[in-house]
Amino acid sequence: MTALAYGAALALLVIGLASIVAGRNVVKTLIGVELASKGVLVNFVATDPAGSQGIVVLLILIDAIVVAVLLGVAVAAYRQYGTLDLEALGRLTW
């Protein structure tokens, strides 16, 4: 059961990161960030369901803040460029 949970955590992380790297749209990047952070949560919960409660609650809070800031910057970018396409913004490459 724990092995399954760890596998799920890793899968979520990989899907999330793939979405961040491959996604051209800022919203897809955002979804990737969210998915990957849920993978982290699964990892913590799988290890110690009772002991990791505080950690998980704090992590959810941090995720919310990061996503809020990312959305804010995305809105600012949309106002400046009129698009959410990362490649249209210029040199956003890895």
Binding site: G32, T47, V66, L70, A76
Partner: protein, 499 residues
């Protein structure tokens, strides 16, 4: 080891300042920059004074927040980071009050600066791996908003989105690494026992994966090559005081956070070699990237990358052979970097502030030619900082590099000599782009630089303070080595607390 309230005063002062500056910026007449800036300065001074008081107590001091679980542990490393954070924060705040950086929204700008400083303080104070991440994230999120602060400038927003996306992904990798450590140690994250706990676990497999996640994750924020691509844009496009905060504080603090997380890893995992290779790559690539830059602020931004390299390289040498001199050198360079880079970015800010009044935003070396005759304070500060950054002897940048070179020379055989020569060669390489800066600042004046006003007093004060720090630290390195040495011992000892 005694529980004392003093241990949380720096954090409380800074987080209190976050709310205080918001209220002052929001509700005073005409949303006054002076009030918000004043409150920010006061809270930073309180934090600095508390840090100084903590330093003369017997360390480590522990304090349990919210009863048992989460706590802060004040070690020499915490005092070290806290002092740097308050000093750079003070300089940035005073500069932001004097220049127009915070004009549009003082109720947001100063809280963000204080939150970034508080995050760095927290990185030092964190007693377990998870609170280390939380404070790292506080620092990171504050800077996410500082980079695109000029939201009506398209390039700033572009730099901001690049910065936020890359660093959000990096943070996720870091916390995933921490979750692997959590799984591997069976739910233990407290630094006091973690390294002992990890040493007894069998099989380094998951731990090696965790080390990779931690290095890559924190490495994005620390701008380790090849994860540095956000850095030049972010530094060049953010307001001057925010650039100083990023270059002097946030990026080096991210390296220290990475090292603090890696310090608990037992010897079986070759952390040192990994950091050594990454550090060498970072300084060499960074120096080549900086060559040929014509925009002064962008040049300084690029030149931050090799300094990340020197620091990471120093820690790598330290982990590799357990040489304390390399740890000292790396941490000393963190300290020196705060003064050098902070001073340089603030001085560039002062010059562009004055030049913008005459001919709009321009920071190319040609446009700045001869500005040194009309703005001797700012240009002199850049000259001192640039010489110090390239490692000219009686200045702060020299000693850190010297200790790193000495450390790498301790590795036996030709490898050690080669590594030492790599650092020295890189220092000479960096003169290739620092000397043109000096040439430009004191070259033939252009029409604009012939009539430019002098450096404003409010901007000159923080610039001179940081420059004085660069010179003093160079003339009397023992001044900083006291603190640096004890902080390095904490890192080298795997953050264990003697029972």
């Amino acid at each position: 080891m005694s529980g004392t309230y003093l241990a949380i005063v720096p954090l409380v002062a800074l987080f209190g300042g976050v709310f205080g500056t918001y209220l002052a910026g929001r509700y005073t007449r005409e949303r006054s920059t002076a009030w918000a800036g004043g409150i920010a300065v006061v809270s930073l001074l309180v934090a600095l004074a508390a840090t100084a008081l903590l330093w003369i107590r017997s360390l480590p001091i522990e304090y349990a927040l919210l009863g048992e679980g989460v706590g802060v542990r004040v070690t020499a490393l915490a005092v070290f980071l806290s002092s740097i954070s308050c000093l750079v924060g003070l300089a940035a705040t005073v500069h932001a009050t004097g220049s127009g950086d915070a004009e549009d929204a003082p109720e947001v700008y100063f809280p963000l600066v204080l939150a970034a400083a508080a995050g760095v303080v927290g990185i030092g104070f964190a007693a377990d791996l998870f609170s280390l991440y939380v404070f790292f994230e506080v620092m990171a999120v504050a800077t996410y908003a500082l980079v695109p602060f000029a939201v009506d400038r398209a390039t700033a927003v572009e730099a901001g989105i690049k910065y936020v996306v890359m660093n959000a992904a990096g943070s996720l990798l870091a916390i995933f690494g921490i979750s692997i450590v959590y799984a591997h140690s069976g739910g233990v994250l407290d630094f006091a026992t973690l390294s002992g706990e990890l040493a007894t676990t069998t099989g380094p497999g998951p731990l090696e994966a965790a080390v990779l996640f931690l290095v890559v994750g924190f490495g994005v924020k620390a701008a380790v090559v090849p994860l540095h691509t956000w850095l030049p844009d972010a530094y060049a496009e953010s307001p001057a005081s925010a650039s100083a905060l990023l270059a002097g504080l946030a990026t080096p603090a991210a390296i220290v956070a990475m090292i603090k997380a890696l310090a608990v890893v037992p010897d079986g995992v070759s952390v040192g070699l990994l950091l050594l290779v990454l550090g060498g790559l970072t300084m060499t690539v960074g120096n080549f990237l900086a060559l040929g830059q014509r925009d002064l602020k962008r040049l300084l931004a690029y030149s931050s990358i090799p300094h990340v390299g020197y620091i990471v390289f120093g820690f790598g040498v330290g982990f590799y052979g357990g040489f304390s001199v390399a740890f000292d050198g790396a941490l000393f360079h963190v300290l020196a970097n705060a003064f050098m880079k902070g001073g340089a970015f603030l001085a560039v800010g002062a010059i562009t502030y004055r030049l913008a009044e005459i001919e709009g935003e321009t920071r190319t070396l040609d446009a700045l030619s001869g500005v040194g005759y009309r703005m001797p304070v700012a240009a002199g500060a850049i000259a001192v900082a640039v010489l110090a950054l390239s490692g000219v002897p009686p200045l702060a940048g020299f000693w850190g590099k010297l200790f790193i070179v000495l450390g790498s020379a301790e590795i036996s055989g030709t490898v050690g000599v080669g590594l030492a020569l790599l650092v020295i060669g890189n220092s000479f390489l960096s003169l290739g782009y620092y000397l043109p800066v000096l040439g430009a600042l004191f070259g033939t004046p252009t029409d604009a630089t012939r009539v430019v006003d002098r450096t404003p007093v409010a901007l000159a004060v923080p610039i001179l303070a940081l420059t004085a720090g660069t010179i003093l630290l160079g003339l009397a390195p023992a001044f900083g080595l006291d603190l640096v040495g004890s902080a390095a011992d904490v890192l080298q000892g795997g953050l264990e607390v003697a029972p």
